[in-house]
Subunit: 381 residues, 4 copies
Amino acid sequence: MVNKIKLGMVGGGTGAFIGAVHRIAARMDDKYEFIAGCLSSTPEKSIISANEINLDLNRCYPDFKTMAEEEAKREDGIEVVSIVTPNHMHADPAITFLKKGIHVICDKPMTSTLDDALSLYRSVKENKALFLITHNYTGYPLVREMKSIVKSGELGKIRSVRGSYLQGWLGSKEEDTGSNKQAEWRTDPKRSGIAGGVGDIGSHTLHLIEFITGIKLLSVAADLTTFVKGRKLDDDASILLRMENGVKGSISISQIAIGEENNLSISIYGEKGSLKWSQENPNQAELHKVGHHKQILTRASFSISKDSFANVRIPPGHPEGYLEAFAQLYSDFAELIRNSKNKDKIKKILPNEEDGLHIMKFINSCVNSSNQNSRWINLNS
Amino acid sequence: MVNKIKLGMVGGGTGAFIGAVHRIAARMDDKYEFIAGCLSSTPEKSIISANEINLDLNRCYPDFKTMAEEEAKREDGIEVVSIVTPNHMHADPAITFLKKGIHVICDKPMTSTLDDALSLYRSVKENKALFLITHNYTGYPLVREMKSIVKSGELGKIRSVRGSYLQGWLGSKEEDTGSNKQAEWRTDPKRSGIAGGVGDIGSHTLHLIEFITGIKLLSVAADLTTFVKGRKLDDDASILLRMENGVKGSISISQIAIGEENNLSISIYGEKGSLKWSQENPNQAELHKVGHHKQILTRASFSISKDSFANVRIPPGHPEGYLEAFAQLYSDFAELIRNSKNKDKIKKILPNEEDGLHIMKFINSCVNSSNQNSRWINLNS
Amino acid sequence: MVNKIKLGMVGGGTGAFIGAVHRIAARMDDKYEFIAGCLSSTPEKSIISANEINLDLNRCYPDFKTMAEEEAKREDGIEVVSIVTPNHMHADPAITFLKKGIHVICDKPMTSTLDDALSLYRSVKENKALFLITHNYTGYPLVREMKSIVKSGELGKIRSVRGSYLQGWLGSKEEDTGSNKQAEWRTDPKRSGIAGGVGDIGSHTLHLIEFITGIKLLSVAADLTTFVKGRKLDDDASILLRMENGVKGSISISQIAIGEENNLSISIYGEKGSLKWSQENPNQAELHKVGHHKQILTRASFSISKDSFANVRIPPGHPEGYLEAFAQLYSDFAELIRNSKNKDKIKKILPNEEDGLHIMKFINSCVNSSNQNSRWINLNS
Amino acid sequence: MVNKIKLGMVGGGTGAFIGAVHRIAARMDDKYEFIAGCLSSTPEKSIISANEINLDLNRCYPDFKTMAEEEAKREDGIEVVSIVTPNHMHADPAITFLKKGIHVICDKPMTSTLDDALSLYRSVKENKALFLITHNYTGYPLVREMKSIVKSGELGKIRSVRGSYLQGWLGSKEEDTGSNKQAEWRTDPKRSGIAGGVGDIGSHTLHLIEFITGIKLLSVAADLTTFVKGRKLDDDASILLRMENGVKGSISISQIAIGEENNLSISIYGEKGSLKWSQENPNQAELHKVGHHKQILTRASFSISKDSFANVRIPPGHPEGYLEAFAQLYSDFAELIRNSKNKDKIKKILPNEEDGLHIMKFINSCVNSSNQNSRWINLNS
């Protein structure tokens, strides 16, 4: 019998979306207990938020610094903290907790600026505490299965990749309605950073392509557009990709694609086969191999590789979804923290500070390219 | 701030499937704490099982009677117990806990025999404790939405219904492999009852049809078959339905449909429209209305009725699945127990002892009809 | 170079549906020339109809008897005639032409009564002219591929079959609107026969199941319903099947399933695998084999067996449809008539008088069973 | 009664693909008779080809010039000719026949070089004969329905468009196998032109986007790749689009996308709604409108606009496909030739020399952009 891991949270108060998701994810596999938090931007709101979710008010803090200070002192203090604030409020708390030796689970993208990302990156390197960035789509069993198939060489050398993440929720000026907190901060350069859709969902799309293929992006040529009048950040983008090993590709991003909900789709084409997956029906993937009929892989079914469904909870045909995929990251991170036998294997697939920083470079390069009439920008220039 | 509901469990030890599902379902929305159990068939196994899932060994009991006795005495005793044993072990523990005033969440079908079902039914009526039977597919948001659409009259008078639940996992004699506990008890008349597939998944299919339409089955003509040699219970069935108000229909059930995973599908046809839904892609449903194009309803999207997504956890396009639907029943039952404001509304949709008994009559009638060369059998004869 | 086959037609005048389909089917592969006809029920209408479609008025006859007489006399007379009248007008013209040595292509079902079917059946046997009944769905390449897969034994012994053909076009009393000729005769017992939906589309469904599996139906238990008030024939049916070799199954038929267009779907389950196909997306089929992922077969793709795509016209991914499948029967029948090398192979798969008579027994047995409270009726009793 | 239009063909001999398609398309609706041809590159092969398809050898010509000369002289000479040769052999015959007053149906792309396209364009303008370029996907009923919906304003102002045409048939060096004529000429710059995949299928994709939206492309930024070693033309491309009215978009093209057959998909996003369509399942389209559920439009169903299904041949739910769509262009062109009442309406939607020339500029601009490291190229610069 192993004790549960003690978890705290910064952000995630009343009206937030992703904080509640993190808490369900932490509960799903029963490896964490959530015991401390600084949930909102003011001490008063934090108390209200804490009360709503039954958090012990003695462990409800007015600011993240006090929280880090106090929790670090306690014998029963938190071992890990989830940072689920808007992007501009990731770096400071994350660094503060890392310095106290408290592991950090950080929402994506890593920060709102590349400078902040570099600071946080260095802080992770300088401290012993562990760092997880929640590129949650990597927790889907079939996404991991696809990674494993590519690695096995079944597709041959990868040639081209195509990804898209299409939403329609920002099709009109939601940020001005006064009732949509999500829209407000995600379209605000001060809180979100220099990119809108590209930062919010383009980041996931590229990360997923790199996760599955194991191949890194080298340069981008991007055309970002703001379709909704008066909006300050991009809400639609088309991006050309040049990756390592001569891999080519493209990404389509939109928040103004009326009728789309969370249509994230990835296709990977190699010399000998291809793979396709779509988040809105995540329990299956398509595998084509030269000389064979198209095959439909299903979650948890017989021939799925061991690594992919280690933590699959229910039999094939019973759908798992977004929350279970998110929970997978929490569950795996718990194994790292508890120093479990398979931690080396897990470490290789969990998104970390390298991913966080790389994705920030991608975001910045897209904006730079678009500002220079879509010329090719090298991520490391 | 409200305290969590104290939950115990009978069954659900090592190697079981549905017990783990119940525990995740109870955790999902943070309304329960799981604190006591009698998890396996022997005291020794129960201790091992309890240890595996971090259950306090002081609240791990050697048998359900002791558990009911002891927990009822404690001030901090459990308020509700989940019965997740094979069918023949539902009635005794359920009645025992009900008598102690402890609410019961009971897996389906209600019992292994109609006599037991009647006893349990009477016990629920005689005691004040609440009773929930986990027809978990009724927890899917779009299933509830369909119920609401039918009720609104949008489809006009219902004419015909078609349901199927097709699995392939028992396509060969899994119960003899020695490694499949599920297959063993589900094909064993002593533990499962007089029906195999019809009891296990036919029960869900009919319940779902009745749940959505609000129309009850009157009689069946059934042809049950055991395709796998040596098996003692049906593994495939085709069933004709005659329901109230002249509604006709049919159900197809199979556990030997090679390649099928958990393909549960329902179609409802009325004079003015129709609805279709399939469990393997549960976040959408099809609505046809005379004079209109086919419409695709998606979970949590704008025009979904209030009742259906009260507890929807994430935005449209992010898939929820089987566990979330299961959790919905736990969450709603918690509202009943806590006597919440909307308990009357909730009471109307939660599966209860009436459903449990009715479904047992359906199972028995199918077997009787099949034994009499598929002649029509009235459920209440 | 081979001359085109000279084709005549009985029925198919202005306002008819299936006559135009037959003519396109005959033209598709350029093996027929359409040169004579008796297109409508009166000489005047026949002339108008002939004129509309550019038929030489010298070969436009006032009645089928004159047509048979005259065409048989001519050196350049028709070699084959298509009978595309309502069911009650199949037997007489077909027998008349057969006696003249003119091959007959007959629409389904074979006739409106079992007696007529027997007379026509005998006439085919007594004459040398060839007979084709247009169970057109057997012309789909993937339907033929499925037949070939079942025959190869890949699925093992067949256990169960499920078919459905759901339409919604008769959801209200279309036959009374005065503008729907199809609805008028298909719901009229005098012209259609003793069955409505079962005769019109149930016939196709059963035939397709038998075509694919090579297994014949032995007995049925059926529940036929007329949902639309005042209609004289069934518009909805659920049918249990018992077939040779212990195969079980069921069929669902409806013309009042609001929102359905021509949803004809077939599933075949064997001991080692299964197949599924649906007419509304006919260029693919699903193949499951024990121990393998689901496979998607596509029309004309690499590993499809030779027989199935002999006459496939365009590459995979370019959809073929209903007209191409219909044309396949015409094309194959031309090979029979022209005595081509592969005529023996073709003969085995073209629907003929045996199919026609057997399906008439199926229709009659369904009605008899339903009239006797769904008791099992042997087709040959 | 109207006589059939007399049709000739240049190209389309043994081993060709598209010639046979054109002939089926011409036959489908019975408006043409095919009576003359110059089918292959040498007189001998032409005779063999003519014999194979029953063409009168007296109307089988050794070269297109003789054919134009002779047919123009005859009273019963051809009225229209289909040019179905490889791209480099479009301009010369087309111009020759146009000068003789014979209408021309020309396969796409218009020519192999921009110069040739300009010559042909001028020739069409200078002569009275009609010109059709077979962008056959515009013949699909739902594609026309989408055009009509966009025009009606239902989607509001169009914002972004996304198209892709993915094939896998050139995934390895098919052009060297000696058995694939299609692969040979389509990868040969002398016969195909300066582009491979972009010319062959990129051309269709852009044309379809412009056809549906009525909005023209202004400039492109393209990244073309040749993945198969030794191939001379692009086999994969990602292209950014800037169109009139501030519309943005992207196109993905591939002939090396293993597992893809003819996956042509188009999405159109406006301020108030969106449309999606995919060629591999062409009998349906998705329509989203703000504040409404997703709607599935089906071919020939009740509310489809008049113009779209004027020539739809069979009821909804019975699939039509590639050949029917192709036939639609032939059928409509016949109406133009016959000067029918609705010719003005038809003229507006049939692809013509303007489309042909514009698409040639698109192809050239893509290659130019790619050669200049993807910089934006204006189509008219």
